[in-house]
Symmetry: C2
Subunit: 342 residues, 2 copies
Amino acid sequence: MENEKKVTFDDIAKYTNFSKTTISRYFNNPDSLTVKNQDIIAQALVDLNYHENKLARVLANGKSEFVGIIVPNLYLHYYAEMLNQILNTYEQFGYKFLIFASNGNSETERAYIQELLAYKIEGMILLSHTIPSEELASYQIPIVTIEREDRYVNSVNTDNYMGAVQATSLLFKNSCDVLVHINSTVQKDVPAYGRIQGFQDTCLENRIPHELIIRDLGHSHQEIHECMLEIYEYLKKTYPNQKKGLFLANDTHANHMLHIIFRDCGTLPDEYRIIGFDDSPIAEQSIIPITTIGQQIGKIAYEAMELLVTQMNERKKRRPKPQTELIHKSITPILVRRETTD
Amino acid sequence: MENEKKVTFDDIAKYTNFSKTTISRYFNNPDSLTVKNQDIIAQALVDLNYHENKLARVLANGKSEFVGIIVPNLYLHYYAEMLNQILNTYEQFGYKFLIFASNGNSETERAYIQELLAYKIEGMILLSHTIPSEELASYQIPIVTIEREDRYVNSVNTDNYMGAVQATSLLFKNSCDVLVHINSTVQKDVPAYGRIQGFQDTCLENRIPHELIIRDLGHSHQEIHECMLEIYEYLKKTYPNQKKGLFLANDTHANHMLHIIFRDCGTLPDEYRIIGFDDSPIAEQSIIPITTIGQQIGKIAYEAMELLVTQMNERKKRRPKPQTELIHKSITPILVRRETTD
């Protein structure tokens, strides 16, 4: 590589008998040339063994085609799959992704954003939730957030409220005597709060006996297991001989609860019905496939990029119009019926 | 942003009374200036509200600080966690990552590599296995592969053979009458083949009765489940009243097998002992936590980056030494004892 002679626009111009301006136009605005001339130059690039340097183009026209992404981690399947689907939008939009995992540290996250800006990203997608959206908005570049507090920025979120309505209605139709929603403390300005609100509203509207169990459910496997064990013992004692419909905040929690019941009873008895949230692989791979509210991750990723691309394109116009109103897109979740409900 | 006046080297030179050459040296070779002069320029950048453009520096000195990564997908936890750990090396090495998911398509992968090269990546880490290593080597840039055929490129892999020896020895010590390894067809030049070889050698050396079940185990949840069900029925019939030690190729398969046995027996009877591979979350989250061979993913990611950085640094020297011998690093796996073995 080191000894390879660098092919310049001059070389291409001489080889094709075009002017350097024409060569430059080929790279920055190819449609301003005839198809025939485009073909001549394309062939010359092959003949001369020209290696495109897109970074040079970036400096020439300011379009890096980079989008920065910050995820909290890739340990949780939800973030990994979202990133997967965002990467797949390359086929539609052509943007390349510079990615950081912030591990929930806001100072690290700020440093990463500075680094992304130094590399002239055209826009940013955030899944992490450590930096307030007001601060994000102050960076003055196109931003779309996914499933986090989004008061001052554009966002795409699952319709969590609708998901909770779907789950609660199904448990109700399964003739449960009492419905229970188990969740951790969720801030009201976070989209996932809709899961609590949707459960509560549906129960109240239909006068369904219900209980909301909101508490710190732990983070490690062991902590979650112990919390779920306690809650199981409590439910057994509090609602004996009643059919209990359990709506859990996510599939990991639902899987823990199912395993506890299954180990206690040798099966999932009629007395319990269970629904999780997310449709992560664990729901399908549990000892009994778990009914769940599936987020349309592919659709969320696509809509987020489309929203971002619209803003990035606006900025490339000679007189970009400032965005007058924030856009918050809401994607309907899908009920995935498996074997833990009728 | 659009209306913000761009601060040029000229502006900084005028403001500090240094020459433009000095300003340029500050960005490309700061140590060639005195600390005092570095401070004066640094302050000027703040005063003038100068935004660093690292892309411009790249063009000036050829160091993009980009590393390209190609993963097959992020759906499988193994790839997601490996990417997570590679991203975390930013703290040590400062390299930024441009990432593509190739979804196992070699033509897509070739297009992605061209795109990465056009963005002047300094090196590349590959986890996908569609392109032969001989072709990868022809790209003439530093490459490290992880857990794939690596005859012509540097690589970091788990010591799969050692992992199989650990698993087989533990099942043997658990007084199993017969050991069974269940795997799909694996090419001999892929590191994971060591799992088969290690099992077979350990059984033969210790004269342990054993069987190797190698067949297409399917890809979807349903396909895998049906294969495992068939194998379970076969084992029950073939080895009645014998203690069977099952070593499965990965935790997903081990989880399926455990669930089938548990649903049949209401527990994991003494007649079965099970070990998986990978230490993925499913092993811990199964109805009984599964003993497994854990890959040291953090260590693999770090070693891969270190190996890549060494090569990338060599290339920046005035007279880089060509690599005379390929390096293949082998990382010892760790036996994670849980409840499916004694």
